[in-house]
Symmetry: C2
Subunit: 929 residues, 2 copies
């Protein structure tokens, strides 16, 4: 350990480090070295490595042997480069110590500035600066900062003294304090430190320096930093580097300044230099917002329509140099940079450069532009767009500048931004919208039921006070792509009185509220929304020629498609959703939930009749009514999905989900069905389940009531034959849910196959169909070698697989899952990001065992994880064939799949499966027709 170099010098056009030494020197340190190498003016300094930080922590806060010698040598080099000497009375060199980890952890760790000041050096500084006030102000700031950061004296104690001093001196602002005031303050600060710590404030510059370095290292392990790391999945063993650097001052008068800038516009991605600065100021002043920063150049000035003078005008020479530097940096890093600079008495110093954060729009534009400029490859361009960010570009969103009056938070059940007037019944929602198609309403219910569908369909969004992520409201809303906040327990809904009570507010029928389906927030009033441009083009509302964004997005997505190996399908069960998904690039349907079709008000009656029948004949009679409806559904989907595979899952939820539950609903159904309400109540009671999630559902229904599967198989195959007869190729894939044993699949397969062959023989159309299964029960994954014998394909139902693998009901997890995630017991909500260790292990076993029997077994995923980038990457690594997700997430999945392929393979593209590739290309072409 001790033989390793511990301090890396930079400055004066030289450097011992470089940008690829980020792990050892941290982001800031490696980039300072790199800039110096490039001949860019940076205040000289040196970086103490992350290894030293780790050793410091491990050895009980002792600096490793040999460090002092290296530091001494490095300081000598800094002095030589910068002029001045550290601790010198006449021409003192001041130092800063800043943290710098491998990844940026903004504001988490400590910084100490102006190190080297004491009662004798401050006089030299005053002379060197020719500005006693600034010198003493630096001294005052140093003692305050050091006293707090290094010595642990609460900062409010310093502030109290400062305030007292200002009152006494009848001054309002810090900057009005005179040098004498500041001198006195220094003495008072030091007295405070001595009193609080029991020791004199350290005056020896070297002591100050090591105190600061130690403090920076220790700040890696303060609670705040540990929490941040846990949340951002940064390992603790990385450690931070400490950057020791000569101070430069932007506050030495009107020829000094400080600023920040981006090499391109971080909001729009436009290729223009964009930034702000202040003269006679220090870095913190730009951030603090006490003075309004000036635009950096004329272009910025014009855009803001301001009279504030720009750097381009005020310091043209400096600006020219800055321009040269930013161009050099961007070309060198081949990436948009976020830079910080200081001008000290007319001389420009660069303090930092790093990759700039940006919006999704700008990420796309910059990536596409840089390819055109020859700066980066297409593969790199694809990697530059974060799939998670894409989401914002696809859903309507609240205007980010608008004010939000958040009064409650429920489950973010279905994303989107909705604003409208409160209604309490589906009927009133419908009648309002029928009367005025432009009217916007939010349907508020305790829970929704199939009887509410017509209201949900016309509402902007749905708010429920009960129910979870898989409640009726949540499931249906997601299916509709409609915003929904579910299970918002803070909200008390009184339908009769027509009021909602929440946090002391009373919201009445007709009042405006807004829902953020992405965060679960409920807001008072009408929060303005903005439309997604890409979606408008996709749906044909806006012409492609009018949207540069869309054309750029399209380029990125085409490139992404050329790199990915995973096929991307969609979860959809209506022709509208299917069409939308294909427009978004879906290459098939991975999950069509047939039960969603039954929630339709008209059909739910037939469904209920089926459920209430107590014998096979009765069920068959009701199923006969459902047959033509289902057939029509499938016809519609098959037509839209022409030539693309359509995976249809047979009935999955427990039957009682279709039954009414409130006395009023029961009465109304009884009237319709001409039976006694008691009979319905009895059925509801009979079908009640303690744990419906683990109850009589999925293939367990189709096995005990074979006739249900028969009807569904018939509807699918009759529709397939009819559509194929009309000249459209149909590829139905029939999927059996909730299988836990091979025998279940075998039995359902027999039923489907028998019906399918009957229909094919009768219709004389050769439709090729396959029969597969969901893998969503641990036992199915564990016995996948057996199950695979009866399966043409597998599809991981990771929603249920997560519930069963964790023994965790998604609907009930609200009381402890957030706690678990907040406290780092779980890294992520496993319903959002696949839990690789547990659920993922089951998936791995499932794929391995399944393919041990059928090496070419097609395996996909249709849980909601199929549209989540981290999970998509995991699916790629498992060798899955496809992911399936909701229509709006298809582009995200496409991009994530490309990322996964590029990351895994570097320069090559996946394992090409010759046969599959061709099929995929073909299907993609069709999909875009």
């Amino acid at each position: 350990m001790n033989k390793k170099k511990m301090a890396y010098y930079f400055g004066g056009g030289k450097a011992e480090g470089r940008s690829n030494m980020r792990n050892l020197l941290g982001g800031k340190g490696s980039n300072l070295a790199e800039m110096s190498r490039l001949g860019i003016p940076v205040p000289a300094g040196f970086t103490i490595t992350t290894d030293v930080c780790n050793e410091f922590a491990a050895s009980g806060e002792r600096f490793p042997a040999g460090l002092k010698a290296e530091v001494k040598a490095a300081i000598a080099r800094v002095e030589k480069t910068m002029g001045g000497r550290f601790g010198d009375k006449k021409n003192p060199l001041l130092l800063s110590v800043r943290s710098g980890a491998r990844l940026s952890m903004p504001g988490m760790m400590d910084t100490v500035l102006n190190i080297g000041l004491n009662d004798s050096t401050v006089a030299g500084l005053a002379r060197a600066m020719d500005n006693p006030r600034t010198a003493y102000d630096s001294y005052r700031r140093f003692v305050q900062m050091y006293g707090n950061v290094v010595l642990g004296v609460p900062s409010e104690l310093f502030e109290n003294i400062l305030e007292k001093r200002k009152r006494k001196g009848h001054v309002l602002r810090d900057s009005d304090l005179s040098a004498d005031h500041l001198k006195q303050l220094v003495a008072e600060f030091k007295a405070l430190v001595a009193k609080k710590t029991g020791s004199k404030f350290p005056d020896r510059p070297m002591d100050q320096l090591y105190g600061a370095i130690g403090a920076v290292f220790l700040s890696w392990n303060v609670k705040r930093a540990i929490d941040y790391r846990r949340l951002n999945k940064i390992p603790g063993h990385w450690g931070t580097a400490a950057n020791v650097q000569a101070m430069v001052f932007g506050n030495l008068g009107m020829t000094s300044a400080t600023g920040v800038a981006f090499t391109r516009d971080p909001a729009t991605g436009a290729k223009r230099f964009y930034g702000e600065y202040l003269t006679n100021a220090q870095g913190e002043d730009v951030v603090a917002g006490i003075r309004t920063p000036h635009p950096i150049n004329l272009a910025g000035k014009a855009e803001l329509g301001t009279d504030l003078v720009s750097l381009e005008e005020e310091m043209p020479k400096v600006y020219k140099e800055l321009e040269k530097i930013y161009k050099k940096l961007e070309k060198h890093y081949r990436e948009m940079q976020d830079i910080e600079f200081t001008v000290q008495a007319g001389k420009l110093w660069m303090l930092q450069t790093r990759t700039g954060k940006r919006t999704a729009i700008s990420a796309i534009k910059i990536a596409v532009d840089m390819v055109a400029e020859g700066l980066i490859t297409r593969k790199e361009a694809v990697m530059r767009v974060d799939p998670d960010q894409l989401d914002h570009l696809l859903h309507p969103m609240f205007d980010p500048t608008a004010k939000r009056r958040v009064v409650a938070k429920g489950l973010n059940a279905s994303p989107g931004a909705a604003t409208g007037r409160v209604v309490f019944t589906a009927d009133s929602a419908e009648s309002i919208v029928v009367a005025d198609p432009k009217a916007r309403v939010i349907l508020v219910r305790r829970e929704t039921s199939p009887d509410d569908i017509h209201g949900m369909a016309v509402a902007q969004g749905i708010l429920t006070s009960r129910g979870g992520m898989t409640s009726h409201a949540a499931v249906v809303a997601r299916g509709m792509g409609k915003c929904c906040v579910a299970g918002c327990g803070d909200v008390s809904v009184n339908v009769k009185k027509g009021v909602i009570k929440v946090q002391g507010h009373t919201i009445k029928r007709g009042d405006w509220i807004s829902l953020d389906g992405g965060t679960g927030e409920v807001m008072l009033g009408e929060v303005p929304t903005i439309e997604s441009e890409i979606t408008r083009v996709v749906t044909g509302e806006l012409d492609k020629s009018e949207s540069l964004l869309y054309r750029e997005y399209e380029k990125i997505m085409k490139w992404a498609d050329s790199f990915r190996r995973l096929e991307v399908r969609t979860n959809a069960e209506t022709p509208e959703d299917s069409r939308r998904a294909v427009q978004f690039g879906a290459e098939g349907i991975g999950l069509a939930r047939t039960e969603h079709m039954f929630f339709d008000a008209e059909r739910v009656d037939a469904m209920r009749e089926m459920i209430l029948a107590d014998n096979k004949a009765g069920r068959k009679k009701a199923l006969k009514k459902l047959l033509p409806m289902q057939r029509k559904d499938f016809e519609g989907i098959f037509k839209v999905m022409a030539g693309l595979p359509v995976t249809i899952r047979t009935l999955d939820p427990p039957l009682h989900e279709f039954l009414p539950h409130t006395p009023a609903e029961i009465k109304s159904l009884a009237r319709k069905m001409n039976v006694k309400p008691e009979a319905i109540q009895e059925a509801v009671d009979r079908l009640h389940e303690f744990n419906p999630m683990l109850g009589h559902r999925g293939c367990r229904l189709g096995i005990v009531y074979e006739e249900i599967t028969e009807m569904q198989a018939r509807a699918i195959m009759e529709a397939a034959c009819k559509v194929q007869k009309s000249g459209i190729k149909v590829i139905p894939e029939i999927m059996i849910p909730l299988v836990s044993t091979k025998r279940e699949l075998e039995l359902q397969r027999e039923v489907v196959q028998r019906v399918a062959e009957e229909v094919i023989a009768a219709k004389k159309v050769n439709v090729k169909y396959t029969i597969g299964t969901m893998i969503e029960i641990p036992r199915a994954a564990l016995t996948a070698d057996k199950v695979a014998e009866s399966a043409d394909f597998f599809s991981f139902g990771t929603n249920d697989l997560t519930q069963t693998a964790f023994g965790l009901s998604r609907d009930d997890a609200g009381r402890f899952l957030p706690y678990y995630v907040d406290h780092g017991i779980l890294k992520d909500d496993p319903f959002q990001v696949v839990d690789r260790e547990g659920v993922g292990e089951l998936m791995r076993i499932g794929v391995e065992k399944g393919r041990s029997v059928k090496p070419n077994l097609k395996v996909g995923i249709c849980g909601e994880h199929g549209g989540e980038p981290n999970s998509v990457a995991f699916c790629h690594s498992l060798g899955l064939d496809y992911v399936s997700c909701s229509p709006y997430r298809v582009p995200i999945a496409r991009l994530a799949a490309a990322h996964a392929a590029i990351e895994q393979n570097g320069n090559t593209v996946g394992k090409p499966k010759a046969r599959k590739k061709t099929a995929k290309k073909k299907s993609r072409k069709k999909a875009r027709k």
Copy 2:
């Protein structure tokens, strides 16, 4: 295939087969061969192998080439041995064809007797028998049997003709029909066959023989046989053998007879020859019960107190020979035999010998006696007692001879036999029993709640119309060792009116009913029960010296203990249950469910106060009330379990289980707590869960409400310190439930450890404790290598592991699980027998991964499977350290563990773990103190 021998001859003191060829020749065939080898007179014959059966089925019902030659040769040998010729007119040899599989499948497959009869041979038979009536009756029986079994003519059509003939002849019984009547009947039967099959009845003896052989082979695959095999787990590929054997007749007059006997008494195990016979009769007559069979010897006659003459008196020579034979057989097989014999005109023929079925009592006696006789080893003796059978010896049981009027069937929630008068409330149960301590009541409720505990405690049994195997009633009843039939949906309970309606019967308050907790049956009236003798000795009601059964049982159990490797613990949470379990041989507690202690009426109030508190301070206050109660519970258990390990599980069920649910209960609680009913209703609503099984329970409670675990840890450790201070060694093992991630266990471990160290320091007693976890969630098993890092031990909770691995709620499985088991989709109810393929795979992974990190990790099982023999064997094969089960199942588990060890190791006893063995012996000694 064709080179294999297909027909194995036996007879005349010779045989080509032998008893160890059961797989090829079936049980009957191999034993016939063995008897012949031993020089025991069996009618000569030959066995066609199971291979031929399989080939016959596989080849589309064709006999393999070469079979006919072998059969011809074998018949020639039979003719030579027996005299007579097959198909000969003068001295015809008749043959029988009987099935015989590897395992007995009584009545499942077909038999054809008297083969070789036609209009010409029958005359010869009549002469040879010197009895035309019997000859024609044989002919009549043959045509009827062949027509039905081989040719498929429904047997009632033959019966109709027979009845008509009897009416015409004015005779009452078959035996009164004359030879002429029978002759006519043969003609009519043949006409019926010709009419129904369109072909003439086959007259050629060889055709008859092959028809019969084919029919016997085919009967292996009739639905009835397939169902039987599925239920009894007999593989279909075994096939059946066909035994072709010379006919002998027990109905040739008063020197002929037929009978069955056991070499020992199958009911009591007494060493005496026991059997029945009839003169002038055929085998079926003994079974049919038209004539009363006679006792076989004077001893039997004396026991029955009958005047019926015995075989010993009637045919002393034959009886002497039979005595010689049975002794020879028992000595040869070293096992009690069940034999069949026929005497034809004074000559004794043995038709069958096989291992005799017996009661549990007799199994024990025979095993112990045979060891004393030097016939078998102790190891064999242990293997001779079926662990499942032991159950009957431990629970009170209904008198097996009593009549049962079963009116409904619910879940067999807790075994036992209960009979009593119906009461509908806990209070009335209590007041009745208080008034008359001998009064017996059955508490009938829709569901039970903690408020019913006092009534349950005094009732003989509990019947509920709702709720499953883990409902309150079921769980509490099992804990009390009390009979319970739960979730009996056929029963409609009207508490207000005080009536139960079931199947048209109305049962009123005070009426007698009986419950069979082992089968779930509900019976009208008072079914007499008999006490378990062993239990009476165990509990000290009866002195050991008065019970031979107990002393023999004790021997077997001691032998079993010397062979087993698995430790056997119990699931118990009261001193009473713990004491009982130790008396039954438990070597520790594997699961003490702390929540059961809270169901006590007095405590549930404090528990409810805790739940209803909406902040930590409130919860702590209520927990403080619970602390001394819990501490006292643990003290009691620790005292009883002196020196034995006690595994205590922290709180597991969701909180709402403790809350009242009906409006009346809520009102009553509100009054007690002096709050508004609305407040309680609100809490009940708030705590409602959609899938409580997968909800906020187990360690999830202890993590979010750390103070609960703190209180429990404190109660355990304070009790441990106190008891240990009094000189009794305490070994607490604290177990965290429902862990799915290592972090959860880590966090709970921290809490328990902190409290434990505090208590130990304060009390200054060095109690050694360990902290482990349940493995009951798939994810915990899959990540067992991680979890093991924080665990001192694992205990498989196979109840919940089965629920999650299958995605199957035990409480809701009633609508499809019975269907699954009946239809062979699942071999067994996975809640009774561990599903080795799925749940077992998770257990295998759990053990393997756990021990990959900690090779000596102690691993047990505390699900209900811990007392089920097949599952115990599986646990043994996995290398578990112990199984834990309810007190009454401890002996069963001990015996099953011995079986597993003996089966696995043949002559050696497990992998002896020196260290563990000693510890085990020590603990065993203590357990018996």
